[in-house]
Structure formats: structure tokens, C-alpha cells
Symmetry: C2
Subunit: 470 residues, 2 copies
Amino acid sequence: MDHPSPFAGALRRPLPVALADILRSRFGDRFSVAQAVRDHHGRDESPFPVTPPDAVVFAHSTEEVVEIVRACRAHGVPIIPFGVGSSLEGHLLALHGGVTIDLSQMNRVLAIHAEDLSVTVQAGVTRKQLNDELKSTGLFFPIDPGADASLGGMTATRASGTNAVRYGTMKENVLGLTVVTPDGKVVRTASRARKSSAGYDLTRLFVGSEGTLGVVTEVSVRVYPVPEAMSAAVVNFATLDDAVRAVIQTIQLGVPVARCEFLCEHTIRAINAHSHTTLRESPTLFFEFHGTEAGVREQAETVQEIMREHGGEDFEWATRPEDRTRLWNARHNAYFACLQTRAGGRAISTDTCVPISRLADSISGARAILDKASFPSMLLGHVGDGNFHALLLIDPNDPVEVEEAERMNDQIVRLALSMDGTCTGEHGVGLHKMGFLVEEAGDDAIELMRRIKHAIDPDNIMNPGKIFAF
Amino acid sequence: MDHPSPFAGALRRPLPVALADILRSRFGDRFSVAQAVRDHHGRDESPFPVTPPDAVVFAHSTEEVVEIVRACRAHGVPIIPFGVGSSLEGHLLALHGGVTIDLSQMNRVLAIHAEDLSVTVQAGVTRKQLNDELKSTGLFFPIDPGADASLGGMTATRASGTNAVRYGTMKENVLGLTVVTPDGKVVRTASRARKSSAGYDLTRLFVGSEGTLGVVTEVSVRVYPVPEAMSAAVVNFATLDDAVRAVIQTIQLGVPVARCEFLCEHTIRAINAHSHTTLRESPTLFFEFHGTEAGVREQAETVQEIMREHGGEDFEWATRPEDRTRLWNARHNAYFACLQTRAGGRAISTDTCVPISRLADSISGARAILDKASFPSMLLGHVGDGNFHALLLIDPNDPVEVEEAERMNDQIVRLALSMDGTCTGEHGVGLHKMGFLVEEAGDDAIELMRRIKHAIDPDNIMNPGKIFAF
């Protein structure tokens, strides 16, 4: 099955002058139609061509977002919420033109409820900023997708990352949201209670909705006491399969590892070049353990034993904070490190997630597919969750490579779907996975999603053309 | 603000003869209009009067549920899904008549994916049955609302219970559902992957929807390796306040306790009478610790220290399985133990949940309100989550007591709402908390919920009259 281009049938009409006048007079310099500003907001980290909105407004408050939404709605003009632009599936591209609401200046931490292990932030606060502001409290926010994404954006894509195996994803960690609905109402989706059975789970409806149901302006999330002890470890394997089987056993035994990352030998090579590390260039696992001193020691011993049984070699420790930081920085820069191995290249990233029992087959299947590729590729990911990424490093200007990459991407995704997995573990659907979502969820599930969208955004003004056809 | 009776405006019309004929000819003995069967399905554990459906069908498969839903829909007849009848807020009462689909005979464990730490069951499987069937695998299902509820029912009410402080609620533990929609389609809400960003979170939409959006027929949930070590402890306090403050500190320090239950002196007295235990009749905490041998020891020592600092006395251990079982059986029977202290009495149970920093004020506020009551009352609950129940033991035939109880219930709920808490932590809205839901969520949030309901169930045939007015 071939998927139609998400760009097909996109309809752009010029921004109504009356709307531009209203927004300009209300927001002054914070309203922009400058090409550079529009271009900056017309792309994300995906390899799609720049597709700019007609205008950008930099909002400072929920009330301002209400004003913008009401004005756009009155003119039937699309709205795209924008955080820092780190999404990977074309979520932010203005397929049908319209107004992008840039929330990056809504970057205040509104409340730190240290006693309740929760915080409330404006949607533009990034995860690193939040952790900086939490430093004096002994608390931290664990969700870590690599990029220094905004919490609004992470909410929109149901992001997760390296800590999810222990702390869960945004789904588990968002306590409540403030949302501006398409008709310009302000809805708070939940109280501050840790759990609730009070009606439909509006919070979870907006987590992962990719800006298609409203604009998230405030996010309340769980935070956690910084563990008494943390240590990290690196372990090498002769084969990808050994490494993955070692992970599977770790998870099945219920060892509460905080992080468990796989990196293939090509990824390690790219990291060594980029981060000036001297990691052995073989299939590798990075671990992190959180807990009490004794608990961390015990976890580490258990994991070391499991690794040894699966042929893990050179188990190496990083207990000093600076060594751990260097290790995880190297991991976080892996995406850019890989990109830099090919000048002018861009990456198509798969994001499949499968039941852990199928992880070895899923990864080695992807490797077999990519072994035939004419372009470089890397495998890495959050294997503790069954989630990994294949990076397909292509020349975006070479249609043959693009076509080849899309074909292999299809094969990798369909392999995961055949294992009862998902086409996207944490990146979201955006433009790129709309066809796969239909294959994965089925027509009747898509019909339910579409009915919800119609019910909440009947005029289809909220990030139109994303997730599914209206 | 007074809430109108949920029974006001209820409209019953006789079951269409044509529908009865269709269901009888298709389901034979499994279709019943016998008064005893209807009455059994017209009540739950709430103190509401029996409100029977017009007929009951005992379904054996998803396909049969499809047939029943299609037939009912064709005749515009309401449908109420029924598990074991253990809900507490009138969820199962046939306010507008109609057909109850009893799912208790859909009680097969369909798949145990031990390697993936997940299972798939039919909706009628109860939590005890599931744990019995898991025994040989070394896995267990932790969600434990006390009653031996069905997993379909637990899904519908977003249930939790004593283990939620460590393992989360049904929200966190349901991986995916099979649902029959109001138009008789079968939707599988998710793949078997541990995490996914593939479109709207249909799973979470149905978790907590109380049968108003469709019939859940299959449930996939997470299961966990049985911990290497478990121990339980009981500790007594001179005052309620001391006990609660000890809990608050335990949670704030991030000690990963598996269970943390509060029981007031009246509850303990009822338990001693019912379960022939000799617990000291003072405000009491029950704890359970899960982990490795060393981890459990360490947690227990930390908690013991915290308890001591808050005046905890007689810290008593239950490490032998039979002692732990006796303790938790006593806890689980607390509701019935309390009921039995008053012959012919029924309990109105509050279910507020507040941010943990407000827990002490919330519980002592409830105690102050109930101290003025003319009927007996008990306080107990899952205080590690900020969730507790006040049991108001009334004579359901005494309108003065009923009125007094409802008034005090109102006061306790409003106190929680004033603390940014929720009117229901785990029981759901049902009939009883519809007014409070509006107060808690606000009109605009209710409007969103209502739009979703209209979009998915436009004819309002799925458990009509529950959660909110259509």
C-alpha cells in the first residue's frame, strides 16, 4: 500500500488583510510576516521542505492565545502552535498556511509544588530550563527526549526518551493542562490530585494530539526527588542480537533501570568523531541506575551479571557526575553526530516500538533491510521500552535516495506493525506517518479519532492536515 | 449549590417487543426478563434504590456484544455494560431502562505474554481470577480496589486501590482495549507496544468512561514480576494528624512503598470485630514493601524511622505470607466490616483525592464535619495517593439521616475541591457525583466531554444519564 503525499490537496489562501490588521495592531512587533521568521517556523527537524505559515505571533499569556485563536477562527484561518521546533515528523509545517503561535516566550515556571512533587509551567518552558530551575529543590523532571524541547511540544507529541523505561512518558507524567480550545475557551483539564476518576480523561486526550485539538498553554507535570545515588555504565557486545537479548532479559526480570539505551557500532563511530570520546565501536548499551546507594549497587550487579551471560564485555562504570554527564551528552548528541557524518545530509528517523519479546527480531530485521541501502544508516534507541530509531542519512536533493529511504522506512514500519507494534513510539504522526496510522489503528479507530476532531474543532482550524485527513 | 436528583427526568418506555423477540431467539436462556435477574442487575454497592433494566443478556464474545448493540441501537434502546456489580456510585442503575449486557461469563484469560509483562483478558475476568491464573508464571496484576471487580469494570471506573501508590491506576496499567462502539463496530484501541505516539489516546478515552462510550469486551494490562521480597507493617498513632503527616513525609521523600493505607480507630474496631484481629484501636497505617531482600529491608528501615519521628508506635512486622494475607484481607474487608456495625445500614462513601500537601487538612476537615453526625462514620483510604474514603453509615430508610449524610458528603467534597483536589479519586462519577463533576471541571470542560459523547454516541444509548447530562 502506498500512502498519498501529505502535501497533495493542501490549500493555501492568502492571510485575510483584516486578520493581519487586527493581529498587528494588537501585538505590534510580536506579529511578523517577515520571510525569515515565517521560514524559521515552517520547518522542524524532519527532512520535509520548508512550508512557512503566513504569519507568526509570539504569545505571552493564555489570554493572548485566546485572542489569537478567536481572531483566526473568525476568519477561518489555520493555527499552528510552535514550541522550539524540534519535532521530527513535519508537525509544524503550515500545509494550509495560516498563523503560527510561537509559545517560546511563554517560558515561566508558574509554581513549584515541592511537597506534592509537581510543577506547573507555561508551555514554552523547556525541559532543561525546568531542571535548572528545580536544582535548588532537590527535585527533577525526568522526561528527556534528547532535544531541549518545550513542555508544550512534548505534551503535543506524547514525548518520552531515555528515562521512560523507569519514569514513563508524558502520558504518565502530565497531571493536567490548560488548553485554549478552537472556539477560544480556556479549559483546565484536571485538578492537582495525583489520581482521579472524574469523567473523561481530557488530559490524555490532549497529550499526543499534536496541536490538532487546541493550544496547550500551561502544563502541570510530576517531578521526582533526585535519587540519593546514580550511576551509569557502558557495555559492549560482539553482535547487535546479543545486546538486545541482554536488554530483554533485564526488563523481563523487572530490574528498575532508569535508562537503557542501545547504540549500534555506526552510531558509536559518529559519536566518537563528534564528541571526541573513545568508546569501543561495537554494538553498545548505556545504562543508568537510580536509587539508594545500596539499591544502585544491587541493580548494577544484577545487570552486570545479565550482560555477562549474554556476552557483554568491558562493563565500564561512570559514577562521577561529570563522567555520567559526558556519557549522556554524547548519547543526546548522537542524532547530530550521525547527521554530521554526511555533509548536507538529512535524516529520516524511524520510531517503531514493539513488544519487548519481539525487539531482537525487530532490530535485526531493520538492520537486514538497511544493509542493502545505498546511503549510511544507524540504529539507536530506547530499547528498554521496545523502541528504537533507524536513522536513514540521505541527500534530500537526490530523489532516488529519498525514494529508496522511504521504501526502507516503509519496510521497517510494516515489520513492527506485523509484530503488533506501533509506527511511532514517541515522535508522533505529524505528516509523515498518517498512512501508517491508518494501517496500524484501522479504519474504525481512525473514524473515532476523526469524530473527536470534528466535535472539538469542527472548522478544522487547529493544525490542519496532521495525524489524519479531516 | 444543590444538585438536582439524577433520577429526575428519567424516561422509561417498555422494551420493544420486536427487540425482545430478536434477543430471545438469538440468546435463548441467556436472555432474561425475570424480575430477580433484572433486580440483581439494577443495583450496585451504592445506597441508591434498585433500578432494574428491562432485560439482561449474558454475552459470551465480542461478536455477541456487537449483535446486542446493533439490535438495541436499531430500536433506540439503552445499553448498560455489567461486570460483577461492585461499583459504588450507581453506575449500573438502569435509569432509563434498557438492556444490561452482563459480561461476567466472558471470563477467559486470552493470552499471557509473560515475556512482555502483559496479559489480555475478556472483560469479565476478575482481578483475583487473573492473579490465580498468573500464579505459575511468577507474575502478578497489582491493581486492587478491594472488591473482586472485573477488569472491564475496573477499566470503566478508572479503578485503583491499595497498590496504586507504587504501580499506578488502571490509567497507567491498561495497554489497550477491545471496544464495541455504539454503532456496533469493533475497535482495538492500541497495539501491544509499551508506549506509542500514534494518534489520539483512544485507550485512555475509554478508561474511566463508565460505559458511556461503548462496551469494553477485552482488556490488555501490564503485569509485573512478583517481587523477590515483600513485607508488611502496621504502625499506630495517637492522632489522625500524626499518622497522615508521617505518610506525607514518606511520599515526599520518594520511598517506593507498594501500599500505604490509613485506617481510623473506628475502622480498626470494626475490623477487629469482623476479622477477629486484635489490632490496637487507634489511627493506624498499614504498609507493604516490595523489592529485593535488601531493598525491602532498606525501605522498611527508612519508613520506620519516619514513623518514629511522627510518634508512630508499636511498629509491627508481617513478613510471613500468611500474616501479610491476613492483614490485607482485614483491610479489604474493612468496607463490609464497617457496614456490619450497623444492622440494615448502608454506606455512602466519599472518595476525595487531594494534593498530598493538603491531605492532613483534608482528612482532619472530614473528621471535624463527621464528628457532628448523628450516624456512625469511618475514615480509611489510600493516603499515599492523597485519596481517602469517609464511610457514612446510614439507615437508607430514614430520610433525615440520608439528607444529613448527603449534606456532610457535600461538605467533604467541597473541602477537597477547595484544595484543588477531585471529587472522585477512583470510584467514578456514576449518578452520585454528576453535580460535583460540573463544579470540579467547569462548564467548558464538561462541554468538551459532552461533545465527545455526542460524537461517539449520538443517540445516547450507552449507559445514558451517567457522568453528565447528555
